[in-house]
């Protein structure tokens, strides 16, 4: 069965900061898409990265694993990274349930 695309990723680049915005469902099948786009930004010269997850309606453990790995990589590369929390409750729940809300660099005021 072919499902319609569940994820939309867009990039916005300003001097010194790149923002990657995600809309849709982040799971085993869509995480690789986001991973590729984020890797492209991480590879470019922009020093700071914001990952805007406000449009994410669903997250599973593979999405979480991706965020954790991304955060570790950013720390290793000494690159500033911030996350904007999802608005949808089910995605926020996953972040709270796993402690990711506290451990990952969510922007103040927008924590899950």
């Amino acid at each position: 069965m072919v499902r319609p695309a569940k994820l939309e990723v867009s990039e916005q680049v300003q001097p010194g900061r790149a923002t990657v915005s995600v809309e849709g469902e982040l799971d085993l099948s869509t995480v690789p898409v986001l991973e590729e786009r984020v890797n492209a930004q991480m590879g470019s010269g922009e020093s700071a990265l914001t990952l805007d997850l406000s449009g994410v309606s669903f997250m599973d453990s593979s999405a979480l694993r991706f965020l954790i790995a991304l955060n570790e990589r950013a720390q290793d590369e000494e690159r500033a990274i911030s996350l904007i929390a999802p608005q949808h409750e089910s995605a926020r729940l996953v972040l709270r349930m796993t402690g990711a809300d506290k451990a990952l660099p969510f922007e103040r005021g927008a924590a899950p």
């Binding site: 085993l28 593979s62 979480l64 694993r65 709270r96 402690g99 451990a103």
Partner: protein, 596 residues
């Protein structure tokens, strides 16, 4: 004409007529020679037959084609004698009779389209493709006096055409299946009847012994004959001869003509000889299936009832098929092996059977993700430690062999750790430490439960909270704690409660709640609660079955994630597990936890 004049015709006139007749004959012979000079130089075979279909003329190419020395000899040959030297078939394998030949059809007054035929000489076994084109030769009254037929030999062209059609077809057929047995059957079927009447595929096992894995024949009934032959073929191959040599050296072996002497020599006994004769092998070709220097086996192609002799063109084609087949076989073998390893590993990650806990019922469901060769993901385990019963369930993020290795580590860490300390939060903390020691990011969710009598103590690491189901009520137990192996400086908390008689504790992985239905809907917590609530007073096994059915019914398409759940139900009025305590283990665990 001249005879009308009767007696008036004088001697001089007779002589004159003789001369004229001789001149006419001479001129006719000359025209025949001129005709021959033109037609004879054409590469294509040209024949002219009279109304009785007797040969009147054949050019040099036709004589060579028919294997006849001279035109005189040909003229003395009976019309269908030549045809009977061949097995003649149309392109689609239908037998062609004399009456189908275009020139004969013209004599019958029919229109004759060009006809493509495949001929196999009964004696030499040589195969040719000929395109027959015929036209009528009319007399002055416009009646068919003779037919002229051009026999264009198109063997080379046809061979190339067949090959260019056959090889992609072969590739598609081989790529079509990852099922090992099916691939082998496909390989054998491919060559029949395109290349030969029979095809057998032999593979080498780990000891280098031969095993015939597929036999194909256009007529399936004859396959059983070939199978009987297997009993006479040694498994141990002789690298110096026959199939063994082919496999060993990678060089094809072509036996153009299989003679009676060869059969006698090969036969091990009378019965064997009889069987060999019954099979009627005409010609045989063996090609190795290899990947690089590694021999996988060989393909044996045999021509029998088609009577054609296999030649070097067949060797070339068969070798190309064998190369493709070797890759397909290797791929499907690896895939089968991977699936088998995956299944074995997956099974090793789950308890073989759930232990019997006195006073309780245990039941579980496990629905692995659809992709069979993948392994890892969810796990659960139930074991006894320190006088208590331990239940763990979790989800390794990631798939494949690494995830499987990680799952094994998680299970063993929890089991080993529980020998020293059965407090769930301590076990999760230990697991977190172990995961962080790994060189690559290793995270998992886990729920660890300790059951002591009717007291349930549990701790949750990034995992869905377990549910307590009683008639009329479903509640989540405990508090969320952080994911394991993921974050620095984190802690977990134990939560304790009692499990009253008839109450069921359900632990599950997110495969249940995340199961995707039609559209964007997920199974979700609400459906989960409703499903188990409806069966709150039923045995644990029934509840789990209903949950599995519910998720499967809801699921649209294939399952993308592992799905697991385990139910622990305290029997109504049942005795707690006190009687099953292991005093020594308890003592040891206590001693160590006190020391720690």
């Amino acid at each position: 004409m001249a005879s009308n004049r009767g007696e008036l015709v004088g001697r001089a006139e007779i002589a004159e007529r003789e001369r004229l007749l001789e001149e006419l004959r001479e001129s006719l012979r000359g025209s025949e020679r001129r005709f021959d000079a033109v037609v004879g130089s054409i590469g294509d075979a040209v024949t002219i037959r009279d109304r009785e279909h007797r040969f009147v003329y054949a050019n040099a190419a036709a004589l060579a084609h028919l294997g006849i020395d001279s035109l005189e000899q040909l003229r003395e040959t009976a019309p269908d004698a030549i045809m009977s030297d061949y097995l003649v078939a149309s392109e689609d394998g239908r037998e062609i009779a004399m009456s189908d030949i275009p020139s004969v059809r013209i004599l019958r007054g029919e229109a004759a389209e060009p006809l493509l035929i495949r001929t196999v000489h009964r004696v030499t076994g040589e195969q040719r493709w000929n395109l027959l084109k015929a036209a009528p030769l009319l007399d002055e009254r416009g009646e068919v006096e003779a037919t002229i037929m051009i026999i264009e030999e198109v063997t080379e062209r046809k061979r190339a055409e067949l090959r260019s059609a056959f090889l992609p077809e072969a590739g598609a057929a081989l790529a079509g299946s990852l099922d090992y047995e099916q691939t082998l059957r496909n390989v054998a079927q491919l060559a029949v009847p395109g290349i030969a009447d029979w095809c057998a595929v032999d593979l080498l096992d780990e000891d280098g012994d031969r095993r015939t894995v597929a036999v194909a024949h256009a007529d399936p009934e004859r396959v059983s004959l070939a199978e009987q032959l297997q009993a006479y073929t040694p498994d141990r191959l002789d690298p110096e001869r026959g199939l063994g040599r082919v496999v060993h050296t990678g060089e094809a072996a072509l036996y153009r003509e299989i003679t009676e002497e060869m059969l006698v020599q090969a036969a091990r006994d009378e019965r064997h000889l009889e069987l060999l004769r019954a099979l009627g092998f005409r010609s045989m070709l063996m090609v190795a299936m290899r990947i690089g220097e590694r021999a996988l086996g060989a393909m044996t192609l045999v021509s029998a009832e088609s009577a054609r002799v296999l030649d070097e063109h067949d060797v070339e084609l068969a070798e190309q098929v064998a190369t493709r087949a070797a890759v397909a076989i290797e791929n499907s073998r690896l895939y089968s092996e991977r699936s088998r390893i995956a299944r074995t590993l997956q099974q090793s990650l789950l308890p073989e059977q759930l232990p019997a806990i006195p006073g309780y019922e245990l039941a579980s469901v496990y629905l692995p993700a659809a992709q069979a060769s993948m392994v890892g993901g969810d796990f659960y385990d139930v074991w006894a430690a320190g006088g208590a019963w331990m239940i763990a369930i979790g989800d390794i993020t990631g798939k494949g062999i690494e995830a499987a290795a990680l799952t094994a580590l998680v299970r063993h860490t929890l089991r080993a750790g529980s020998e020293f300390d059965t407090r769930p939060a301590r076990l999760l903390s230990l697991l977190d430490t172990m995961l962080k020691k790994r060189p690559t990011l290793s995270v998992c969710t886990a729920l660890c439960v300790r059951l002591e009598d009717d007291v349930v103590t549990l701790s949750v690491g990034g995992h869905p909270l377990p549910l307590r189901v009683t008639p009329g009520r479903v509640e989540a137990l405990g508090e969320h704690g952080p994911l394991l192996g993921a974050f620095p400086e984190v802690r977990w908390q134990d939560f304790s409660t009692r499990l009253e008689p008839g109450a069921t504790l359900i632990a599950y992985t997110d495969g249940i709640t995340d199961a995707q239905g039609e559209g964007r809907g997920r199974f979700g917590l609400r459906r989960l609660c409703e499903t188990v609530q409806a069966l709150a007073d039923q045995p644990a096994a029934q509840m789990m079955r209903a949950l599995a059915d519910g998720v499967e019914r809801f699921q649209a398409g294939t399952r993308s994630d592992d799905t697991a759940a385990i139910a622990l139900r305290r029997l109504p009025g049942g005795a707690p597990c006190e009687a099953e305590r292991e005093p020594r283990a308890k003592l040891r665990a206590d001693a160590i936890t006190t020391a720690a």
